[in-house]
């Protein structure tokens, strides 16, 4: 049913519809509205789940790990340094232990200096942890991605956790019309979780064992990587099935916007894509042939799909709400895009922008296109030079 809803509340509705047995999270801006809403749902008997108010994010994800290992579907949500970074050790652990936990990330900058505002440094910094990463452009997409995430994560040839990422405030605190499926519809799409194995006194197993060198560790890492590659196919299949049931297709890991005959292409993740699309429309009206490749799945990285989408475009501008400090291209996404098109002669540049909530306007997108045309890139965009 179509309703006007705050992004965080739509995410909480999505989480509820997935019927988690255990919810554990710790409040941090801008994720708080999600967990507050879930607490209300439990208090009102709308959601039959164990809701654990824990003492830190480290505990929140550890609780989820324990419940998941015991066979429950679980849910958590977090953000930024105090949240995701405090969890970081558990984040890697959960993937290694192959628990299909789904966690929402309301993307926020990392301190210092302290910033509660949006960029994507938090989730991007944990790109190597073994979770799949989905990025939503608007409230509808990020809501739907939760259903897809559980479905993909729980496939027995995947069994890996996933982040559903969306821009803090810009999406988490914005009211948008959103179609929330009914419980019956989601039950038909997402069957109850069937663990591949679990902690069970009737069939004892050991989980999280010690891998003495040098016998098995590398093979474990290899298998986790293989599973994450398979998660790509599972996300795609779940996105397709979702499209058939709900009319919103998410089978692609990327989405191309006005890419036919483009001379310059943007690559972006999340809410920024909306601004970029509007800018492209204006540029096209002025005769500048620009297009966008939106990345919806960042892990596993959809290199083939991106290469196909960018084929024949001379200049590519990757818009990065993150910085890989000290790296040559500055942004973390650019090098992966560049690698995807190696040998094609396409020029790929990174532009670091929008950090700590700095606004990005249509004219900025247009200016970046001009920089890319001139071959100027791998740089910050939009610095206030007067304060430097």
């Amino acid at each position: 049913m179509m309703q006007i809803m705050e992004g965080s509340h739509a995410v909480a509705e999505a989480a509820k519809l997935c019927r988690p047995e255990v919810v554990s999270a710790y409040p941090i801006t801008p994720q708080t509205h999600i967990v507050e809403r879930l607490a209300e749902m439990v208090a009102d008997g709308e959601l039959d789940a164990e809701y654990l108010c824990v003492e830190s994010e480290l505990s929140a994800l550890s609780v989820c790990l324990g419940s998941s290992a015991a066979g429950s579907r679980v849910y958590s949500a977090t953000s930024s340094q105090g949240g995701l970074m405090l969890m970081a050790e558990v984040v890697f652990n959960v993937a290694g232990m192959r628990q299909p936990i789904v966690m929402s990330i309301a993307n926020r900058a990392l301190g210092a200096p302290l910033s509660i505002w949006n960029d994507q440094q938090d989730s991007i910094s944990l790109r190597d942890a073994g979770w799949f990463h989905l990025y939503g452009e608007d409230v509808q997409e990020m809501t739907d991605q939760h259903f897809i995430a559980y479905k993909a994560a729980e496939q027995h040839d995947v069994l890996l956790p996933g982040f559903v990422c969306f821009d803090g405030f810009i999406l988490s605190h914005t009211y948008e019309p959103v179609d929330i499926p009914t419980q019956e519809e989601i039950d038909a799409f997402l069957p109850p979780y069937v663990p591949y194995n679990k902690l069970d006194a009737k069939a004892p197993i050991s989980m999280g064992m010690y891998a003495p060198p040098p016998d098995y560790y590398m093979e474990f890492r290899h298998e986790t990587d293989q599973a994450l590659q398979r998660a790509g196919a599972a996300i795609s299949a779940a996105g397709k099935e979702f499209g058939e049931m709900f009319g919103r297709d998410y089978s692609g890991h990327t989405e191309s916007y006005r890419m036919d005959d483009a001379d310059v292409a943007f690559v972006a993740l999340g809410s920024l894509c909306g601004t970029v699309k509007d800018a492209i429309d204006e540029m096209r009206a002025d005769g500048i042939k620009a297009g966008l490749v939106k990345i919806r799945t960042f892990r596993p990285f959809p290199a083939t799909e991106i290469a196909r989408a960018l084929a024949g475009v001379p200049k590519v501008a990757v818009l990065e709400k993150n910085i890989s400090l000290g790296s040559a291209m500055k942004g973390a996404v650019g090098p992966e895009v560049k690698d995807a098109v190696t040998g094609t002669g396409i020029d790929v540049y990174s532009y670091v922008l929008g950090l700590g909530g700095r606004d990005i306007r249509k004219k900025d997108i247009r200016a970046i296109a001009a920089l890319a045309e001139k071959g100027v890139g791998n740089t910050f965009y939009g610095l206030r030079t007067e304060v430097l």
Binding site: L58, G66, G71, M209
Partner: protein, 300 residues
């Protein structure tokens, strides 16, 4: 009553000879029986009992990190509760995991009052990483991060008084201490804890770590463990709903007997006795004896 003849902690693990925690693992599972899920922290026991693809655990067992066992156990318990399952949830964690790095998760789990039993195997240092001090290391023990030296007599802080001052203060339903020297007592306390609703805590002295404490043969484990109790540096007691309900009485021996047998205290005796330091340790034992009323009077 659980069947005490069941062997649920298998042989073939890789603990050192005379390892107290290895003995304890076996005793704990005799106390819990088969219907249990064990949550472990990173440390010696985790490493020696689960070298992939082998495991010594015949019950479900999970290890995540050094510091988060109590939170993982909270999650396991929440899942069991939601599904009306009957397994008991038992954490088995080292003193470093318990006294130091895991305190946050323990505090949360005990505040929430999960139906779990948290057992700390106390070998009084970080053994797995090479015998560094922990909050459970006794006063004056020489460890690799509190070495005795020209200006140092070893660990400068007394052992943290964790069970009463932290766990009992959190409102734990049952708090007890035990020692591998008294196996029947360990099994009895474990059985009692897992059958007491709410969060329970047992701290078990698992001396000696012949590797970490040094100076004696691995066959002397029980002997040294007994001396710790006989001298009053370790007290076996029980606290129920906040009240001290039992403490093992002893005819005390001087602390020297216990200290002298261990390399970690050798600097107090060689090249010559450091009498004022030995006196300070004796005072700790005397204070314990008074606090818990463990001295057997002459006419008793």
């Amino acid at each position: 009553m659980v069947d005490k003849s069941l062997e649920l902690f298998d042989c073939g693990h890789r603990a050192c000879g005379g390892c107290g925690p290895a003995l304890l693992a076996r005793l704990i599972l005799k106390g819990t029986g088969e219907n249990v899920i064990v949550v472990a922290s990173t440390g010696c026991m985790e490493v020696f009992s689960t070298p992939y693809p082998e495991t010594a655990w015949k019950v479900p067992w999970i290890h995540s990190l050094f510091e988060n066992a109590a939170a993982v156990a909270s999650g396991v318990e929440a899942s069991l509760k939601h599904n009306n399952r009957t397994e008991k949830v038992v954490c088995i964690c080292g003193d470093g995991a318990t006294f130091d790095i895991g305190m946050l998760c323990i505090s949360g789990a005990f505040e929430r009052g999960h139906d779990i039993t948290y057992i700390c195997y106390d070998n009084e240092a970080y053994m797995n990483t090479g015998i560094q001090r922990s909050g459970a290391t006794p006063y004056d023990a020489s460890t690799t991060t509190s070495p005795a030296g020209r200006l140092s007599t070893g660990n400068s802080l007394p052992k943290k008084d964790l069970p009463p001052q932290i766990l009992n203060a959190h409102g734990a339903s049952y708090v007890a201490t035990a020692s591998v020297a008294y196996p029947m007592d360990v099994m009895k306390k474990v059985e009692k804890a897992v059958n007491t609703p709410g969060a329970c805590y047992i701290q078990v002295h698992t001396p000696p770590c012949s590797t970490g404490w040094g100076g004696f043969d691995g066959s002397k484990t029980i002997e040294i463990a007994k001396q710790a109790i006989e001298c009053g540096l370790w007290v076996n007691y029980e606290m129920e709903n906040g009240e001290l309900t039992a403490a093992k009485k002893v005819r005390r021996i001087p602390v020297e007997t216990y200290l002298k047998a261990q390399k970690r205290f050798r600097h107090l005796f060689k090249p010559q006795a450091v009498t004022e330091e030995i006196a300070k340790i004796q005072a700790i034992a005397d204070a314990n004896a008074k606090k818990y009323g463990i001295d057997i009077e002459r006419n008793e």
